[in-house]
């Protein structure tokens, strides 16, 4: 059975693999630099990752914005 570990900061290898799927071949040094650059954002966002409710309406942001406007 597939397991889902807590979201992790991407490694250089993971960065290179993700970029390759988007058609961008990264040399190892670039992948390492990118992994370091995005790590703080991944780490800070980790508590949210994997916690959003199943039924979260995709347009909730607009709904909240418009609710304010209606006040």
């Amino acid at each position: 059975m597939t397991s889902f570990p807590p979201p992790a900061v991407p490694t250089p290898d993971a960065v290179a693999a993700t970029a390759r799927t988007a058609g961008l071949d990264l040399p190892p040094a670039a992948a390492a630099r990118i992994a370091a650059a995005v790590a703080p954002a991944f780490a800070a966002f980790a508590p949210v990752s994997g916690t959003l409710p199943f039924d979260l309406e995709p347009a909730t942001f607009l709904t909240v914005q418009m609710r304010e406007l209606a006040k």
């Binding site: 979201p7 993700t18 988007a22 990118i34 650059a37 995005v38 954002a41 800070a44 909240v64 406007l69």
Partner: protein
């Protein structure tokens, strides 16, 4: 205050020193001609450009011809609108049909825009005259004002220091009185940072307040259009002209546009302003902390109720903002990154490549969390008219300190610059920037008033009241 800075007199002899609202009224009343105003700006531009690098193109001949046409039309009683004959220049990312729009890049170095941005067209319809195009960070992707293709823009208060970016030319040109106002854009702080570092007023609008059609995209979720100007009143005038529905941008809000100018005349008494108890007050340079404390005292003395506010985790909002920004920016640039990578500056290319590391699930989670995060924020600020925060934790660093190609701590400093701006972008909120003081070395520092969605009028009201109580916005750097 710097020994070399000047305070603006109430009736300057140089028409370039008038505010936008003042020069518009003066031209309409034929006390000043459009040619005189345009010539005054062009004379200052000619003197300042070698020192500040504020413009990417200066169009003196066509500007003067347009000014003459505006004067002739006015003489016939045919004023185009509230900004008839007023010369302006904007960040070089607003498409203007028939004009080269470089976006601060080599890739678009000779690209002629086929259409005109809605925001710009509305200012043109109001009668403005085009002075040229202002410096910007390559593809608006950087917070300092560095640009490897055109050289850095330089701060009007001290040319060794950065302007802030990405609306670098807009910030320094308004500060030096080279243009009465300028369009900027704010995706991660690109209006508020130049406003903070250059000592000018700025308005980051709610996502949806102004059409983005014809404005160069960076992040479709976070991009906003807004002005930098000498006063909050000037920002209000410009917002009123640009806001409103646009068939070319279905995300632009329809319905009546509030009277923003009237809002700037409202009293401060009765307003409640929240002061964050963490994040925005952490790790401040002493000069910024002093300006922040003084501003709180000023607002309280002028009748505002000051209360503490505990905001949700701002660092997490900033992280979510970054995940969205880098992914969307990479998607916009994916074609050129593959086809013409060598034509990017090294730093912008590196930032763009970061987006390819974001898995789709993470990107979509960052997008999806925006609604609950906005709801949580609005709960936290219930009963408040605005939240007051510094625009950045420090005054403008030097160009050398923030040179990623040379300074060892540059990346850390650049990350610190945008610390206070990105949460606002993630939540799509409006914010007004106001000059709030000067360091001992004569560099300006500013504050941001952060509001509720579409409540720009409230922020403009508070910002204008602050400017009635202070004179930071009337000070100008040494004459160019």
């Amino acid at each position: 205050m710097s020994a070399s800075s000047l305070r603006l007199s109430s009736a300057p002899s140089d028409p370039a020193l008038l505010t936008l609202t003042e020069v518009a009224a003066a031209i309409a009343a034929r006390r000043v001609s459009s040619r005189e105003a345009t010539q005054a700006c062009l004379a200052r531009i000619e003197r300042a450009q070698p020192r500040l690098n504020a413009f990417l193109s200066i169009e003196a001949e066509t500007a003067l011809a347009a000014a003459d046409a505006a004067d002739a039309a006015l003489a016939r009683g045919a004023a185009a609108g509230p900004l008839h004959g007023v010369p302006l220049a904007h960040k070089d990312m607003y498409y203007d049909a028939g004009h080269v729009t470089t976006c601060g890049s080599k890739i678009r170095g000779d690209w002629v825009a086929p259409t005109t941005a809605t925001a710009l067209q509305r200012l043109k319809d109001a009668g403005t005259v085009r002075l040229g195009a202002l410096h910007m960070v390559e593809f608006a992707y950087g917070p300092t004002g560095h640009n490897p293709h055109f050289g850095p823009a330089r701060n009007a208060w001290n040319p060794d220091h950065v302007t802030g970016g990405s609306s670098s030319g807009s910030g320094t040109a308004v500060a030096a009185r080279l243009t009465y106002a300028a369009l900027g854009s704010d995706t991660g702080g690109s209006i508020r940072l130049p406003a903070h570092f250059c000592g000018v007023s700025g308005l980051k609008t709610t996502v949806g307040r102004i059409s983005r059609a014809g404005a160069m995209p960076l992040s479709q979720t976070l991009d906003t259009v807004g002005p930098l100007a000498r006063t909050v009143e000037d920002c209000a005038l410009l917002l009123g002209l640009m806001a409103g529905a646009d068939p070319a941008d279905p995300t632009a809000l329809g319905g009546p546009v509030p009277d923003y100018l009237a809002a700037t005349r409202a009293p401060l008494a009765g307003r409640t302003i929240g002061i964050p108890q963490s994040f925005y007050v952490d790790d401040l340079d002493p000069d910024v902390a002093a300006a922040f404390d003084a501003a709180i005292a000023t607002l309280e003395r002028a009748g505002a109720r000051i209360v503490p506010v505990v905001l949700p985790d701002q660092a997490r909002l900033s992280a979510a903002s970054t995940l969205i920004l880098v992914a969307e920016a990479a998607a916009h640039h994916a074609h050129w990154l593959k086809a013409r990578p060598e034509e990017y500056g090294a730093q912008v290319r590196a930032r763009l490549e970061n987006g390819f590391a974001i898995p789709a699930v993470t990107y979509l989670e960052a997008l999806g969390w925006r609604g609950p995060a906005l709801a949580a924020h609005l709960d936290a600020v219930a009963g408040l008219d605005a939240v007051l925060a510094p625009g950045a934790p420090m005054p403008a660093p030097t160009i050398a300190e923030t040179d990623l190609g040379g300074a060892p701590d540059a990346e850390a400093m650049i990350q610190r610059l945008t610390r206070f701006t990105r949460p606002v972008n993630y939540l799509g909120l409006p914010a007004v920037s106001v000059p709030a003081g000067f360091t001992a070395a004569g560099l300006p520092v500013g504050l941001q008033l952060i509001g509720r969605p579409f409540e720009e009028a409230v922020l403009l009201s508070i910002g204008a009241a602050f400017q009635r109580e202070t004179d930071f916005h009337t000070r100008l750097p040494e004459a160019p």
